[in-house]
């Protein structure tokens, strides 16, 4: 900035043309590193499928064999089912990735409450 006498002020700083170009290039290169993340609603489908299992089991109380068969049919080996904390159907290779769980209370044939927990592991 210039003062009243037309001399350059001591305060502030002025970028040289090279600095401006370098800063612009640096900014442009920084922008190139960002990539859009793919958007998916796979989690929603898994949640809906877990709820499907709980709904069907609430209509017809399943045996342990049916729990295992239904879970494998829908999720393959990636889901785990616990009934009152006891693992009925186990998942294979559940140490990696993400997990979604759904919990529901289902009345069995003896009119007793059973807490079902379905967990699906996925990448």
């Amino acid at each position: 900035m210039n003062n009243a006498d037309g001399e350059r002020s001591e305060r502030g700083f002025v970028f040289s043309l090279e600095a401006v170009v370098a800063l612009l290039l640096f900014g442009m290169l920084l922008l190139t590193t960002a990539q859009p993340k793919p958007v998916s609603i796979k989690e929603l489908l898994i949640l809906q499928q877990e709820n499907d299992l709980l709904k069907v089991w609430s209509a017809h109380y399943p045996s342990e064999g049916e729990i295992i068969a239904d879970t494998r049919l829908l999720f393959g080996g990636t889901a785990e089912v616990k009934v009152d904390g006891k693992v009925v159907a186990g998942a294979q290779g559940n140490g990696k990735g993400k997990a979604i769980s759904s919990e529901g209370i289902i009345i069995d044939d003896l009119l007793q409450e059973k807490k079902f927990l379905v967990t699906v592991y996925f990448d």
Binding site: L25, M28, L29, T32, I41, Q48, D52
Partner: protein, 164 residues
């Protein structure tokens, strides 16, 4: 090239035109390369966003149709709801479908999306497939739901496609 030793003439030559130094050439080339990389990345970024949008559109519509099928009863098109209606309780019984209603499903299309087929896989029985469209599409997605069909456990698979 200036080969004269006359200082007056040399000064006159140097005062006109543009003189490039090596570092200026390198800097200019780097700047152009940087701009090229930026332009290419920007184009890739735009393409990736367009692809993501199309994938999301297909996924959203397919999941919506599959969810509607196992939760509603839609007499206009049983593809959007083939659940049994409990007349006594006057409500739809979610996840309990009628095979007869599902067999009456009509073709469904919406804003560049269509449902190609519905299939029902009951345990121990051959897979039943209902083809709803003869259109060909390279971008299709299937969504599986678990439900009771005529009181039997079944996997219902909806295949949705982008209308190209």
């Amino acid at each position: 090239m200036n080969t004269t030793n006359n200082p007056g003439k040399k000064k006159a030559l140097n005062s006109r035109g543009i003189i490039f130094s090596i570092d200026a050439v390198v800097a200019f080339t780097l700047m152009l390369l940087g701009m090229l990389v930026f332009a290419i990345t920007l184009a890739n970024y735009g393409n990736a966003i367009a692809q993501n949008t199309e994938d999301f559109f297909l996924e959203e519509k397919t999941l919506a149709v599959a969810d509607s099928l196992v939760k509603n009863n839609n007499p206009e098109n049983y593809l959007l709801g083939a659940c049994i209606v409990d007349a006594e309780k006057k409500r739809v019984r979610g996840s309990e479908l009628s095979g007869a209603l599902l067999a009456q499903a009509k073709p469904f299309a919406l804003e560049g999306f269509f449902v190609k087929s519905v299939s029902i896989a009951r345990a121990g029985k051959p897979k039943q497939q209902i083809n709803l469209s003869e259109k060909v599409s390279e971008k299709c997605l299937s969504a599986k739901r678990f439900a009771l069909v005529d009181n039997e456990k079944a996997i219902i698979e909806i295949e949705g496609c982008v209308d190209e």
